[in-house]
Subunit: 323 residues, 2 copies
């Protein structure tokens, strides 16, 4: 059966059933089914973000399961909350769907969404559905951040060390293999379609006294550039310190570093902090030190082992690019 | 210049400039430009809703100005908050745009968005932009609701009177004339493309002790049906009491009642309350009494002046209908 055959209210009832079966969420006063969701406030400052997955731009229905897309749609928003040191709370899901979309596809999408929601204790409390010519999954995510938060892009200072969680490039490597129709090793597919947002790491960084962070979605160098621009500083990255994903290196060899620097969609955290804070972070959050914050006029530089500036590859994902 | 020529980060900077020029919003800790927005919490329970306008489904770019669409995109969400008796707070805007969209169109859209945001004291604090094959404007709106809120769809009781704010059908009449390429009287265009959400009325209803409300977006009878279903009751509406918009009647004559009952997108509030509460509402909120809540088995009936049941027209807007 398709979404068009089920009609709008039938589809809403179906989604309502899937969400209800997942059990009640703490603090919810009214969930799906009224004009708005309603919940009891949590302590702390409030944070909110929205991000979309667009068919043909961010994904192809032939290359990803609906469960993977549901997981990823919420994961990319959770990654933004992680970058603030936040605690995720409640999500609204907005679906634009072609009428010929199978209802089973929507069921799978919600299965993935509810799976990651349960993992990170997020209440899926509402949303809407609309007819459209291509699938667009938009998530709006609300959360809180405790004192002395939030982590901010604008708080990097000259002399700070630059740290990143996890490894780089696996997601971009997975995407390239998927697009080329080549076999995709499990860890690369997982990195691209089932990323694990760094919620705990973000809270750990905040707890250790880190002030500046960003999540890596556009690519390591692009997002480091965003952070530097917001902070009015430059950055020097040691190429040989960048934690290139080992599975990526196995498949891509010498191309792996470029994917690690510019591939994007890693959904790891990049942060900066002075030495004494870095020492505390070393005890609490696994990360790799990749370089140092410098003066603004230096821009973002990548240095080789001999201390020479490396020519940079293109700087990450551009949504309106024709590629 | 088009959105594709400006590229993603240029477009974000442009939007950022428009929002910054509108001035700071109360309580905002971080607005556009970081991984999430951040604000200081307001007292009360929290409410949140999301709704989209999809090109070709909800609007045609040739028939509405971008300013009107910007206004309407936030208005439809504000109407949901009004139906809870809520106080709107902060909005995130998610834009899916074809690369050939003129940047001026986006500027106009934001002009309309910021106009209604200022009118209802909403902070536009973030969002995202994506490439897509058709325009989709998705708004996520957060707010609060004071005790003893929120108004709920499920709180109608047998014997309650049924009240509605404003007049009915003007929006649907305006849409029909626009689609047919006929001249559209100002009040009908205004009702369709520049609706005024009933935020003050919603808060007034809550203050008077009303418990049950819904906003009229799918159509008077369809939304009354949603409320009855959620409350497990029926409803009897007196056809001659329905406040058919006078401008609508002028253009559509005898067809006006059907548009008033089923046209949709009125963005007025429908509420129910027992007699003693209705008396208080009469002092505080302008409305029309159109009937009574009845037993569930009676369903939603429309009665003529002689007390006979009237055959009902189709029950409002269905998003996946081919029409």
């Amino acid at each position: 059966m398709t979404v068009g055959e089920l009609d709008e209210f039938g589809l809403i009832d179906h989604i309502n059933g899937l969400v209800s079966a997942a059990g009640p969420s703490e603090g919810v006063v009214l969930g799906i089914g009224d004009d708005t969701a309603c919940w009891r406030p949590h302590p702390g400052l409030e944070v909110a973000t929205t991000d979309s997955l667009v068919e043909g731009v961010h994904f192809l229905v032939d290359l990803a399961t609906p469960e993977e897309l549901g997981w990823k749609a919420l994961a990319v928003n959770l990654s933004d909350v992680a970058a603030m040191g936040g605690v995720p709370g409640y999500a609204l899901i907005s679906l634009a769907l072609p009428p010929q979309t199978p209802v089973d596809w929507v069921t799978g999408l919600y299965r993935g969404l509810l799976d990651i929601a349960r993992t990170f204790r997020v209440g899926v409390v509402g949303g809407d559905v609309h007819s459209a010519s291509q699938i667009v999954v938009t998530v709006a995510l609300w959360g809180t951040v405790n004192a002395p938060g939030p982590l901010a892009r604008s708080a990097a200072r000259i002399g700070d060390r630059i740290g990143i969680t996890g490894t780089m490039g696996a997601s971009a490597g997975g995407l390239r293999l998927l697009k080329e129709g080549r076999p995709v090793p499990g860890p690369l597919r997982q990195a691209h379609l089932h990323p694990r947002p760094q919620i705990e790491a973000g809270q750990g960084l905040l707890h250790c006294g880190v002030k500046a962070a960003i999540d890596i979605s556009d690519g390591l160098l692009a997002d480091l550039g965003h952070l530097c621009r917001a902070s009015g500083v430059g950055a020097s990255v040691a190429a040989e310190r960048v934690p290139v994903d080992p599975h990526l290196r196995e498949v891509f060899g010498d191309d792996a570093l470029a994917l690690a620097l510019s591939g994007g969609e890693d959904y790891q955290l990049l942060f900066t902090a002075p030495g004494e804070v870095i020492e505390k972070v070393q005890v609490e959050v696994p990360f790799t030190d990749i370089g140092e914050i410098t003066q603004r006029r230096k821009g973002v530089e990548v240095m080789d082992a001999a201390g020479r500036s490396v020519a940079l590859p293109q700087k990450g994902w551009q949504h309106f690019d024709p590629r």
